[in-house]
């Protein structure tokens, strides 16, 4: 049982060490349920992670600056 005693904390998510707001943060959740995961072969009707489908909704939520680490400072933002 890999998650064992921690699993309850995932759902309620208020571990004092996490410093996270109550409830799993949505953006972090989307990082995980959309951007990752195995792609299963076979008769797949739809696997979101591999289909442009996601980009529509995600553009509003997650902006990829993947591998362009310097990008956030394009506007000279605070550091």
């Amino acid at each position: 049982m890999p998650v064992g005693e921690h699993a309850g904390e995932v759902t309620s998510w208020e571990g004092p060490e996490s410093g996270a707001p109550i409830g799993v943060p949505l953006v972090d959740l989307l990082d995980r349920v959309l951007a990752t995961g195995v792609v299963v072969s076979g008769d797949l009707v739809l696997a979101i992670a591999e289909v442009p489908l996601v980009r529509i909704s995600l553009n509003a939520l997650l902006s990829s600056v993947n591998e362009r680490v310097a990008a956030p400072w394009g506007n000279g933002g605070p550091l």
């Binding site: 921690h6 699993a7 995961g37 195995v38 680490v69």
Partner: protein
């Protein structure tokens, strides 16, 4: 539990039948009772286990209409619906992971009925077994590093300090700026730019240092996409968005390492945010293994 051949997959050709939504793959031993109360992605149908090969999938019958490509695209473009789907997906996975080693599948993995699901999953059984072994007794922690909003407590007024590392354009400033206002202006602009570059460099170096430090405790690490600063206006620039696969028993060690980083004077300018423990979503496909582990 043996819902397999009846009902749900009865009329796949009609387009009106249910589809089989697969949440996750578990090693045998997932407790169906843990899934009993969950509403999953559809009202009224149970979240259940679908055995295949030596493993089980956590599945639910969902109305195919609500999950057709077009409909789904629309639903997931709506923030509230997207959130609802993502949280429902996560709730099932977290519940399953509570009782058995669990490998999460991406949101909206759908098959036309149990038999199709079973056949497809079975084809990947070997890979699933390998991943399950890799993530067993391990959890994922998310670490985000932000450039602090506050300036470091040794502020560098634009006129002094913090310049020695930047080449060019400095030598003359002490001499002529007072008497030549235009020149002084240019110097200030240049100074601000230099300072910003240095802060960028320092921020990236700090993020790398955090990453290196946490990989010492982790089995594997993975950098995720950075979030748009607009998502988190209360934070500064996100310097690092990473996930680490960590042995469950080393959680305290990880927290200790994080605490140490937070207290370290050289990282005074950054903020660390921790999320977790997560079911190892980010390590289903790999991540960079830490050398020697």
């Amino acid at each position: 539990m043996k819902h397999t051949d009846s009902g749900s997959a009865a009329a796949p050709e009609s387009g009106q039948a249910d589809a089989t939504y697969v949440f996750a793959v578990c090693g045998r031993g997932c407790d169906p009772a843990a899934l009993a109360g969950l509403s999953g992605q559809a009202a009224g149908t149970p979240v259940r286990l679908l055995p295949f090969g030596s493993l089980e999938a956590v599945v639910q019958d969902v109305p195919a209409r609500a999950f057709g490509e077009e409909t789904l695209r629309e639903r997931l473009s709506d923030r509230a619906e997207l959130e609802q789907c993502a949280r429902a997906h996560h709730a099932v996975i977290a519940a399953a992971a509570d009782t058995a080693p669990t490998l999460p599948l991406p949101l909206a993995t759908l098959y036309r009925g149990d038999e199709r699901a079973r056949a497809a999953l079975r084809a990947d059984e070997g890979r699933f077994l390998a991943v399950l072994e890799r993530i067993a007794d391990r959890v994922e922690w998310g670490i985000k590093v932000y450039a602090g909003r506050r300036r470091p407590s040794t502020p560098a007024p634009p006129h002094q300090a913090s310049r020695p590392r930047t080449p060019g354009g400095r030598e003359s400033r002490a001499v002529g700026s007072a008497s030549r206002p235009g020149h002084a202006y240019l110097e200030r602009v240049r100074g601000a730019r230099d300072e910003r570059e240095q802060r960028q460099e320092a921020g990236l170096a700090a993020a790398d240092a955090v990453d290196r430090a946490l990989r010492k405790v982790a089995v594997a690490g993975r950098r995720l996409r950075s979030h748009d600063p607009a998502l988190n206006p209360e934070h500064g620039v996100q310097l690092l968005n990473a996930a680490y696969l960590v042995d469950q028993e080393r959680a305290a060690e990880l927290m200790g390492a994080i605490e140490q980083l937070r207290r370290s004077p050289e990282h005074r300018g950054i903020e660390l945010e921790v999320t977790g423990p997560w079911v190892p979503y980010s390590f289903v496909e790999g991540g960079d293994p830490v050398a020697g582990r």
